[in-house]
Each structure stands twice: as structure tokens, then as C-alpha cells.
């Protein structure tokens, strides 16, 4: 079931789109800057639409079924979000337009900022960061700028628990910070003794994912934050796991100084096969001046007859911009739509049901899949994908076998502190019936692991392709098809 590549489908002379002939006189083309070969494929619209439709059918997706990927919050993406983002008044406005012509867009952004402040307990929000990792970079640079502004220059140490996402240490290193890994204690919390030992005058901050990637809410969170603050550091919150906390607790109220949201997780904007995301950052009062600019604010209050005028402002000690323009506006429209549909009580019910679903799955699975931390979980939990009486079976085999049952596997081999980890996050949008069917399959696979391990080792069997030779991919490094090396003869585009 191999689909040809675009370059293999190309037939010389075929066209997918026609454009009008020029209605102005032709100008002389720049002689020494006109390309001689343009080795792009030649296809009809039918070719293109069928190619990509066939490709699409080789994908799993949330529209098809449950996606229990831990820490990814693959919830259903409401269709109304798409309709809203496609409204011509949003999709077809230029980022450099005068603010007077885009008041609707700016008002929406302002309101979204206000809602994200309220949900997280923050005093300021930037919508600019493009994704969670960029939100982290923004946050760590804000932490750095805060210490620099106080002339507290020796604070370069960032503490990161060993259960953290890989982006946390990568971000800190990118920001020029020194990374110190903190161990977790036996209950999956931050190890307080290890934390105390690092709380000195070089401490810039702690990056805390709470609930952590084990799905556990840190039972000592207030003490953790108190210790960091007492040492003069700041606490960064990784909002990847915010789907557990909406309306449950506000990170800002706990003392978390800065946090990034993932609109593409918590607020239902689609993942798009790997983006675009959107990673707004919230901060408490003392960090508002360091936010990246520009952010949306009221630039003219107006009066009884004139509505307020929204525009862009750059905070006084801003770390600067982190990307072009104002952020992923299209994602903001979707998130705004989503929050508006839920309202305050609905927002809380999202997290309640995300946590209900995770605990329900955990309760039904824990007798068969070893659960390393026996606690009430939040929106996700981690089990081990290994059994003593099925020694050759690994988490990977379980994951691959799940595909034969039409399921997407959970996150596996993460967090690193659990052996053969299977990290499961059902989200609130899955029904009891879907979860029951999931458990039934998981129990069946556990049984197959004992009775027919080969079935797991060779899985998946019914997918478009089987297990791939990843070593060959990395060794031979074929990263594009061959059109580039054989320019199509006699196609001088300068002749146009």
C-alpha cells in the first residue's frame, strides 16, 4: 500500500492551477538573477487532491478515535473552532494593518488575555509565543531578566525535576542557564531535601510541572514554592498539564510566578500533525514589565460616545519579541471560541472529567499493569509495560499491538524515571463506553503477552505499514526525493 511521492506522480506539461495573463506591460526580468531550472512537480488538481487524500487515510487522528497520549492532551477539537478561525474577517487581515481597521481582532485578543489571566491567576499575559517550547523560552528569559534588572547577576541556576519534559532542560540551556536535575521522592513529589540543598544565592528558579508527568499533584507544592522564593528564586510552571487544573486551582494563587499555556492542548486547538501550537505566557505582577512585546492593551479609553481603542504596547523592560508579528492569531480565535462556550462552570468541568477519566482507567488497569505510584492521579497516569512472566515483552510491543485494535498507543518510555513507561491521558472528551472498550483491549493485550508474545513482538499487523527500520533511515539519510538532482531539461523559466 505504497503511495507514490509527488515527484513520481509528476507528468511534464500538467498544470494544477491557471492564473490570469498579466494585465500590465511585462518588465525586463533581472538578467543575472533569473533561475534556469525550477524542479517542482507538474500535477493536475485531481492528482494533488487524490494524493493527499490517500495519504490522509494512512493517518490516525482524534476525529477517528481516542488518543491516550500522556502529556499531549489530545482532546477532541470542536468543529466550531475551525469555522470561527475561517471567518474572512479573521483569516484575511494583514498583520501590519492600522489598528483602527482591526479592532475586532484586537478586542478578541484582549479578551483572551483577560480570560487566561483569570484562569491562571496572573496579572499579565503575552499571546506571542508560537508553541509550548517557545513559551518556556519566553518564561525562562523573563526569569533571567528579572534577576538582571535587580543586578542579581550570579543567579544562573535552574532546577528541573527528573520527571520534567525534555523541553525544560533544553530551554534552560538555550537561555544560557545552568541546569541542575532534582530527583523525585518515593511518592513522585519533588525531593525536598534535594531542593533545600540547591537553594542558595545562585538559584535563578525552578521549572515545575504540576501535576508532574506521572500525573501526580505535588503534595508539597506550597513548601516547594516557599523554599524557592525564600532563596530569592522564581518558580516557572510548565502548563503542559493545565488540563488537570482548570477551575481546580490557579497556579498564580499557589505562587507560581510564570507559566506557559498550550492552547493546542488545554484549549482544544488542533495539533495539525505536529503544529501549529500556541504558547501564551502568564506572569504575576512583579514580572509584567518583562513580558515580550507587543501585547494588546487599551491605547485610548474612549468615552460615552466612543468605544475604547485597542492597540499594541511593549512593556517597559520587555525581553523583546520572540517571533514575527503578534503570535498565532488563528489559534487564539479557536481558544477564545472554546473558552466562551464553556464559561466558568464548564471550564471547571473540563478538568473534573479529565481527572475522572484518568482515575477510572487507572482503577481498571492497575491490577494488570503495574502502577509504580499508588495515588489518586490527576489528568494522566503512568503504568509499566512489562511483566515478570512475559520477560521479552516491552512497552513498545504493547504500544504496537494496540494499533491492531484500532487504538493510538499512549506515550511510551516517558517519563524516564519509570521503567517501560506507558503514560496514559484520556482527556475529558472520551466517554465511559470508549474507556471501557480501551480497558478491554489493554487487558486482552496483557493476556496475549503471556499466551502469544510473538503476536506483540511482530505487531502491528493491520496498519498501512509495519514496523520500520529506523536504523536504515538514520544511516542512509534519504531526506528528499530525487527531482533536485535531475533538473528538467529545456525548462528555462526566464523565457516567460
Amino acid at each position: 500500500m505504497t503511495e507514490p511521492l509527488l515527484c513520481e506522480l509528476s507528468i511534464s506539461g500538467r498544470k494544477g492551477v491557471q492564473f490570469p495573463k498579466p494585465d500590465v506591460p511585462k518588465a525586463a526580468l533581472p538578467a543575472n538573477l533569473t533561475r534556469q531550472h525550477l524542479p517542482l512537480p507538474e500535477l493536475s488538481e485531481v492528482d494533488v487532491v487524490r494524493h493527499f487524500t490517500r495519504l490522509s487515510q494512512m493517518n490516525y487522528c482524534i476525529d477517528k478515535g481516542m488518543y491516550p497520549l500522556g502529556s499531549c492532551t489530545m482532546k477532541y477539537n470542536p468543529k466550531v473552532n475551525e469555522a470561527a478561525a475561517h471567518l474572512p474577517g479573521f483569516a484575511f487581515i494583514h498583520p501590519n494593518q492600522p489598528i483602527e481597521t482591526v479592532q475586532g481582532a484586537l478586542l478578541m485578543m484582549y479578551e483572551l488575555q483577560e480570560m487566561l489571566k483569570e484562569i491562571g491567576g496572573f496579572a499579565g499575559i503575552t499571546l506571542q509565543p508560537a508553541a509550548g517550547a517557545q513559551g518556556e523560552l519566553t518564561g525562562v528569559l523573563i526569569v533571567r531578566a528579572y534577576h538582571q534588572a535587580r543586578n542579581d547577576l550570579k543567579r544562573t541556576k535552574i532546577l528541573i525535576p527528573d520527571s520534567a519534559h525534555g523541553t525544560n532542560p533544553a530551554t534552560s540551556a538555550m537561555s544560557g542557564m545552568q541546569v541542575i536535575e532534582l530527583p523525585s521522592d518515593v511518592n513522585g513529589n519533588v525531593n525536598l531535601d534535594a531542593l533545600r540543598a540547591e537553594c542558595d544565592d545562585t538559584l535563578a528558579g525552578l521549572m515545575l510541572t504540576n501535576p508532574n508527568t506521572l500525573g501526580l499533584f505535588d503534595e508539597n507544592v506550597l513548601e516547594v514554592i516557599r523554599l524557592v522564593h525564600a532563596a530569592g528564586g522564581l518558580v516557572y510552571g510548565d502548563g503542559a498539564n493545565m488540563n488537570a487544573l482548570l477551575g481546580i486551582v490557579r497556579p498564580g494563587d499557589l505562587g507560581i510566578d510564570v507559566l506557559h499555556y498550550n492552547l493546542h492542548k488545554t484549549f482544544s486547538t488542533p495539533h495539525g500533525g505536529g503544529g501549529p501550537g500556541s504558547g501564551p505566557v502568564g506572569v504575576r505582577e512583579h514580572l509584567v514589565d518583562f513580558l515580550p512585546g507587543p501585547i494588546v492593551d487599551i491605547v485610548d479609553e474612549g468615552d460615552e460616545d466612543t468605544p475604547p481603542l485597542y492597540g499594541f504596547v511593549t512593556p517597559k523592560q520587555s525581553i523583546g519579541r520572540v517571533k514575527s508579528f503578534w503570535g498565532h492569531f488563528g489559534m487564539m480565535v479557536r481558544a477564545y471560541t472554546y473558552i466562551r462556550m464553556y464559561g466558568p462552570d464548564g471550564i471547571r468541568s473540563i478538568s473534573e472529567h479529565a481527572v475522572l477519566n484518568a482515575n477510572y482507567l487507572m482503577a481498571l488497569m492497575k491490577d494488570v499493569y503495574h502502577l509504580p505510584y499508588q495515588r489518586t492521579c490527576k489528568h494522566e497516569f503512568v503504568v509499566e509495560g512489562r511483566w515478570e512472566d512475559a520477560p521479552e515483552i516491552h512497552a513498545l510491543d504493547i504500544a504496537k499491538r494496540m494499533m491492531d485494535y484500532g487504538l493510538h498507543p499512549p506515550t511510551n518510555y516517558f517519563p524516564l524515571i519509570v521503567h517501560e513507561a506507558l503514560m496514559i491521558e484520556p482527556t475529558e472528551t472520551e466517554s465511559k463506553q470508549t474507556l471501557d472498550a480501551f480497558v478491554e483491549i489493554m487487558l486482552k493485550i496483557a493476556e496475549e503477552a503471556r499466551t502469544d508474545p510473538e503476536l506483540l513482538k511482530t505487531a502491528p499487523h493491520i496498519t498501512p505499514v509495519g514496523r520500520l527500520d529506523e536504523v536504515k533511515a538514520a544511516k542512509e539519510l534519504v531526506l528528499c526525493c530525487g527531482l533536485d538532482s535531475s533538473p528538467i531539461a529545456g525548462t528555462s523559466v526566464a523565457a516567460g
Binding site: 490522509s56 476525529d63 466550531v80 500533525g273 525581553i319 464559561g343 475522572l356
Partner: protein, 447 residues
């Protein structure tokens, strides 16, 4: 709505868990802060929220209401209907990052197609699966060059005619690093040769734009040779649509090609999401950040695609990774792939030429208006700088009264250029629109 539980489901599930109420699941959250009252606007039905959003959208005057001559990093191009039809398919839209290749071949092969088209367009060997946008792709080029020289070369030379947002982003990214990125104060009207005095043995990377921020096009072959002679690397930030017509930067000897992919079938959407293009030479592939898709075989002997060289990335290397990038612009890369497939060799060339001819017609007409002149006589693609007899902001206010979105006011980024505006002309601008622009500009000084 989107939470399917019935009361009976909830009760049965709580019983299975062994608790009485939903609240019991949150006992580990500090009681003093648990269950805050959120001051959010009340819930709305889908019908109500769409009416509200329609009202907000209608409060904007977009490019369907106004005649657009605005560019400066984002451009108004025609997007064939098939692009949205494909990217709106749930199988692409609602899929996760393709970490499980057996059930993600659609996304993986589409990225492989994307990588193939980008390398063909730029004349480079390899492309990654995307960065966030043009600005962050430039910032990642800096990080890559710095890592390539293992910190031994720290100087980064940014051309002043590189987009101001790109330069600002490089600065932001490097406030905590050893990288010394700077924009030399040279005559803006000068060509790339003016950068040469600033390039020496400590220069890791020189970054120029093509067409540059002011729309000008230069042959950078000589610059590439001089940068290489000094031991550094050259990155060129491109408008990929212009490459339908122009010499690919790979032929100049660029080591890294980055760019803003928005012109390739991505809606303006008030500035994002867009697409960061990143391509380089084979020898630097292991230093390149971001995801990469490689071809391989499956255990049934079929050709198949998989994320490869992942050991460079943050989820494996953690603090030793050169970049923290994770989520990128998958769907936007798909949009550009569909766009490039539909237009193909002939269509992309045709659009680029339409832009070129229309821009040159517009520039010629405007230059003939008394009081107006072209700021540069260098060759240009589809954007050019006009010196106006009045501050550009005043001219633009006048144009807007006539339903025209005028050019970008360069005084915002370049002190002293308050009377200059950067106009962009694309295939979307008819001769009638250009003639109207010329008419209104002719009136403006006399108001």
C-alpha cells in the same frame, strides 16, 4: 457538547474508583486555593458564540474589503481552494506529531514531500519539517552556526536590510548566550559589499535577506565567497514565492536558507500561524534543529517514512540539545506542500512573474508622480520603497479613506525614513487597483 458523560456514567465511574464525589479526586490540592470562583463570561451555545465571533470578525476591515498594497513580511496571494480542502481534513488537522509511524504515514510522507519541494526550490540539500516562522528560523540559524563552531566563533553579522522582526528575535534569543549578534550601521542604500568590513575570523554567520526587507534582490555569490574565505557561514532569508522566478540561494553558495513560508498558500490571519523554512547543506544536517523525515523500509518490505536523527532533539538530548523546538508548524508545512504541488513548476513561476511585472508597473507609475520617487535603483522583486512628499503615515491615512491599505511605514523601524513607504504588489492587485493607487497618491500632496 464535548464532555459526553451522563450522570449515570459519572456515578458508575466514581464507584469504580472508590470515591463518592468528583471533589474527592482533588484532596491533594491545597484547600485554601481549591476551586476558585472564576470571573469568566457565562457559557454560550455554539450558535451564540458564532454570532459573537461573526460580529468581531465583521469589526475588522480585511483585504477583501480594502485594496492591499501592504507586505513587509506577510503577503496577500491567491490560495487555491484545494489547499484548505486538504488541510481541513480531520486526518491531517487532528493528528498528533507522527511519533508512531505505522499509523502516521500520511503526515510523514507529506513532510517528506515538503522537504523535497523546499530543497528543490532553495537549491539546498536538506530541509527540516519546519520552524515557527521566518523570524524564529533565522534565530535557529544563529544557534546552529554558533554550535557548528563549538562556541569558538561568536560574532553574527545581521544585514540592516534583514526584516526588523527577525533581527529583534535573534536579539531576544541570545540575551543569555555568548553570541554577539549585531547590525552594522551602514548606508542602507548600499549593497551587500558594505557588510564586508564587518566580517572577520570571529564571524560565525552572516545573514542577509532575498529579496531584502526593502524588496531589493542581489546576487550574493561574491558575499558567500568572502564569508567562506573568512571561515564563516552565510544564511539567506528568502521569500520562497520569489524563488519561482529568481536564482535559488543554493547557487549563491548559501550554507543555510531560511524564510517565511506564508506566501505559499497560508492565509494572512493577522500574522500567524505561518511557516518557518529551514534548509541547509548535507554536511550540516546533524547540526540542524527541528524534525526530519527520512525514507526507509518496513518489515513487510514496503517503502515507508519515519522521523529520523531524533537523537539531536530535546526529548532525547535534554539540556544538550541545540534547540528546544518540539511542536512546529506541521499543518502549515502541509498547506505549503499542497500549494506548491498545485502550482507546480509552471504555476509558481507564473505567480512570481505576475508579482514582478505588476510591481514594476506600479513602481514606474508612482515614480512618474511629481513629488514621489523610488528610494533605490537596485533590481527588486515585488516590493519597493517610495519616497513620499509627506510623512508616509499621512499618505496612508489618505489612502485608507479611499479604501486602500497603503505601504508599510518605514519610519517605524528606520529613523529618518518617515517619508518612505514600502509597497508590495502581488498577483492579487489588478491594473485598475494600481491605477487607483497612483491616482490617489497624486492627489495626496495637494490635500
Amino acid at each position: 457538547m464535548f464532555i459526553p458523560h451522563t450522570e449515570a456514567d459519572r456515578e458508575a465511574m466514581l464507584r469504580t474508583i472508590g470515591v463518592d464525589r468528583l471533589d474527592d479526586l482533588f484532596q491533594d490540592v491545597p484547600a485554601d486555593y481549591r476551586f476558585p470562583d472564576l470571573n469568566l463570561p457565562p457559557a454560550q451555545t455554539e450558535m451564540e458564540v458564532m454570532m459573537e465571533l461573526q460580529r468581531l470578525a465583521n469589526a475588522n476591515e480585511g483585504i477583501s474589503d480594502l485594496i492591499c498594497f501592504l507586505g513587509a513580511g506577510a503577503y496577500n496571494h491567491y490560495i487555491p481552494a484545494a489547499v484548505d480542502a486538504i488541510t481541513s481534513r480531520g486526518e491531517f488537522l487532528t493528528a498528533y506529531t507522527p511519533y508512531q509511524p505505522e499509523i502516521s504515514q500520511g503526515t510523514l510522507q507529506a513532510i517528506f514531500d515538503y522537504q523535497s519541494l523546499i530543497t528543490a526550490l532553495t537549491g539546498m540539500d536538506v530541509s527540516n519539517a519546519s520552524h515557527y516562522d521566518g523570524a524564529t528560523a533565522v534565530a535557529e540559524a544563529v544557534t546552529m552556526a554558533y554550535a557548528h563552531f563549538r562556541g569558538k566563533k561568536t560574532k553574527i553579522v545581521l544585514s540592516p536590510s534583514l526584516h526588523p522582526h527577525y533581527r529583534a528575535t535573534v536579539e531576544t534569543y541570545n540575551q543569555g548566550t555568548e553570541v554577539q549578534a549585531f547590525t552594522p550601521e551602514i548606508d542602507l542604500s548600499a549593497g551587500p559589499d558594505a557588510l564586508l568590513p564587518y566580517i572577520d575570523g570571529s564571524t560565525a554567520l552572516v545573514i542577509v535577506q532575498y529579496p531584502d526587507f526593502f524588496g531589493r534582490i542581489y546576487n550574493y555569490t561574491d558575499l558567500a565567497e568572502k564569508v567562506h574565505a573568512a571561515g564563516g557561514l552565510l544564511a539567506i532569508a528568502v521569500n520562497p514565492l520569489a524563488l519561482g522566478l529568481l536564482t535559488p540561494p543554493g547557487e549563491f553558495g548559501a550554507d543555510i536558507v531560511v524564510g517565511e513560508g506564508q506566501p505559499l498558500g497560508i492565509p494572512l490571519s493577522f500574522g500567524g500561524p505561518y511557516l518557518g523554512i529551514f534548509a541547509t547543506r548535507k554536511e550540516y544536517v546533524r547540526k540542524m534543529a527541528g524534525r526530519l523525515v527520512g525514507e526507509t523500509m518496513d518489515n513487510r518490505g514496503q517503502r515507508a517514512y519515519v522521523l529520523t536523527l531524533t537523537a539531536r532533539e530535546q526529548h532525547i538530548r535534554r539540556e544538550k540539545a541545540t534547540s528546544n523546538i518540539c511542536t512546529n508548524q506541521g499543518l502549515m508545512a502541509l498547506a505549503s506542500t499542497v500549494y506548491m504541488s498545485l502550482l507546480g513548476k509552471n504555476g509558481l513561476q507564473q505567480v512570481a512573474e505576475l508579482c514582478y511585472h505588476k510591481a514594476h508597473y506600479a513602481a514606474d507609475q508612482i515614480a512618474a508622480i511629481p513629488g514621489y520617487s523610488l528610494w533605490s535603483n537596485s533590481p527588486y522583486f515585488h516590493e519597493f520603497v517610495v519616497q513620499c512628499p509627506l510623512p508616509a503615515a499621512e499618505i496612508n491615512a489618505h489612502l485608507l479613506e479611499h479604501g486602500i491599505l497603503g505601504g508599510y511605514e518605514l519610519g517605524k523601524d528606520y529613523p529618518g525614513m518617515e517619508n518612505a513607504m514600502l509597497l508590495a504588489v502581488t498577483e492579487m492587485n489588478s491594473k485598475e487597483e494600481i491605477d487607483l493607487l497612483v491616482d490617489i497618491l497624486s492627489e495626496a500632496p495637494h490635500d
